[in-house]
């Protein structure tokens, strides 16, 4: 869906190129997270995809079109764009903000109104309540939700997101991440997602591109990055708690064992991850948990020994 080849960007006056011969491809429907220390070129790379920054060399193809051969204005209208500071228009109602791109594309009023309500429903904001409110009446989390809805408005196949949850408190951030993953499940969007938070990258990304000094250091699935960091830089960037981070990527129902003679007293939901299961085991000092489905039925059990085995398994097939 997105093919980046030999991309170079040198800002005037900078000692080193911000992006240095970067090659990267993102498959349709995947979330590609760009991550790295500040100044690694992740945001610059993202901004070259919709020509907010013009590359010095290299090529970018989006859905088979060379972006450098596409008019920047129509290119940007076909790509969703979300930034950390949201940038809602204070003089427009929430409905008008969400309708920004459809209006630019000349949709008729009825179609726009339907789409706005649909999106407000999608982001869990009651249309009748929020449609005619103004941005200053919203909380930070609500603003960011509207920012995502605005980017989704014209149903673009590709979305660019620059630290969309970076300015939000940790609790709301976790909720927004979950919500966003839920929204994405039904939409099949190709997403380039910039963050500096490795936990966010592991949680949101289908693939993670780790950048350093404008170059790609490793590009792999979260499991593979945790299991086989390409070099000491990635290893230190990912952190020393890699084993725990890997557990966080595995759902309880992905580590099921058959029940023994007795059903364990304590249970955990099938969608909880193994890190949380482990925490619960330590908390109540047990080594077996029942795993229950959404209807409360016991699906099986997970054991401390089983979890330990998962920290050692190398491949990423559990996801």
């Amino acid at each position: 869906m997105i093919e980046i080849r030999g991309l170079v960007k040198q800002f005037p006056g900078a000692a080193h190129p911000a992006v240095d011969h970067l090659t990267l491809s993102v498959s349709e429907g995947e979330v590609c997270v760009l991550i790295g220390p500040s100044g690694c070129g992740k945001t610059t790379t993202m901004r070259m995809i919709n020509r907010m920054v013009e590359p010095d060399a290299g090529s970018i193809m989006v859905a088979g079109r060379d972006v450098m051969q596409t008019d920047p204005v129509s290119l940007r209208r076909s790509i969703g764009y979300v930034i950390q500071q949201v940038g809602l228009f204070p003089h427009w109602s929430i409905a008008d903000n969400i309708a920004t791109v459809p209006k630019l594309l000349g949709w008729d009023a009825a179609r726009i109104a339907t789409r706005v309500d649909e999106l407000l429903d999608l982001i869990g904001m009651e249309p009748a309540t929020f449609r005619s409110r103004f941005p200053r009446e919203l909380s930070g989390g609500q603003k960011q939700r509207v920012g995502v809805a605005r980017a989704l408005a014209a149903d673009p196949p590709v979305m660019l997101m620059d630290e969309p949850f970076g300015a939000i408190d940790p609790i709301t951030r976790a909720r927004l991440q979950d919500e966003f993953l839920r929204i994405l499940r039904g939409l099949k969007k190709t997403i380039v997602f910039v963050t500096h938070d490795i936990d966010e990258a592991l949680k949101m990304g289908d693939r993670i591109a780790i950048l350093r000094d404008g170059a790609l250091v490793q590009y792999a699935t979260p499991e593979a990055i945790l299991a086989r960091p390409a070099n000491p830089f990635v290893e230190s960037f990912v952190g020393t708690d890699r084993a725990l981070k890997r557990l966080a990527l595995i759902r309880a129902d992905g580590a099921l064992e058959s029940l023994g003679a007795a059903v364990p007293v304590h249970a955990i939901g099938a969608r909880a991850n193994l890190r949380d299961a482990l925490a619960l085991m330590f908390e109540i000092d047990i080594d077996t948990l029942a795993v229950t489905g959404p209807d409360g039925a016991v699906l099986g059990a997970i054991t401390l020994a089983g979890i330990r085995a998962h920290t050692r398994s190398v491949d990423g097939t559990n996801r």
Partner: protein, 215 residues
């Protein structure tokens, strides 16, 4: 007592009074209109470049410190006397506040908001028209309000270079030591200035987009 005599003067010379009042209003309105027509587009153009904006603001600030009377006096040797030179001088007087407020208001528009607008595919002109100008409007209008009051007050001085208006009564009142006649010029001119301030204050409120009005 003086007020009664001033009133009697108006009743005795209604033609002269209303002519002067009309000239005063016409002169002020024309000068303000011209100043808006010049300063607004120039401000929009200059706001894009930091250096040009700085030069413009510095120049406008110098212009702002010139006494109104000095501006009129400087115009006279070049353009002579009458309505047009007065109009020219008053327009000059109204330019700085509008220009300064337009440039600073546009420069203060949140950069992230403009980035979002550009990233969603607005053209430069659409960003200016749909985002930057509406958001900057309250501050721009504050500049227009200041200019309006300055022009209405400054128009009194037009009498010195033959521009007419309510200043005629004041200058002749001073020359003849006729206090009631002086008040015939001074009081309506003051009320006009206060009225202009109130009117533009009201317009400023109406033109501030609903989502940005103080609560």
């Amino acid at each position: 007592m003086l007020l009664v005599e001033a009133w009697q003067f108006i009743v005795a010379h209604p033609g002269r009074f209303f002519d002067a009042l009309a000239t005063h209003v016409a002169l002020s309105a024309a000068a303000l209109g011209l100043a808006i027509a010049i300063a607004l587009p120039v401000g929009v153009l200059l706001a894009d470049t930091r250096r040009a904006a700085l030069v413009a603001i510095t120049a406008a600030n110098i212009g702002r410190t010139l006494p109104s009377l000095a501006v009129l006096a400087l115009v006279m040797p070049v353009l002579g006397t009458g309505f047009v030179p007065s109009l020219f001088a008053l327009t000059l007087l109204a330019l700085p506040p509008i220009l300064i407020n337009t440039v600073t208001a546009l420069q203060q528009v949140d950069a992230d908001m403009v980035d979002a607008a550009r990233g969603m595919g607005m053209t430069r002109a659409q960003i200016m028209r749909k985002v930057e100008l509406p958001v900057a409007m309250p501050v721009i209008f504050a500049g227009i309000r200041t200019a309006a009051v300055q022009v209405v007050s400054g128009a009194v001085l037009a009498a010195y270079i033959g521009g007419g208006g309510l200043g005629d009564f004041i200058t002749s009142g001073i020359a003849m030591m006729a206090l009631p006649q002086l008040l015939v010029g001074a009081i309506p001119a003051t009320l006009l200035a206060i009225g202009a301030d109130r009117l533009f204050g009201h317009l400023q409120k109406i033109l501030t987009p609903a989502g940005m009005r103080p609560r």
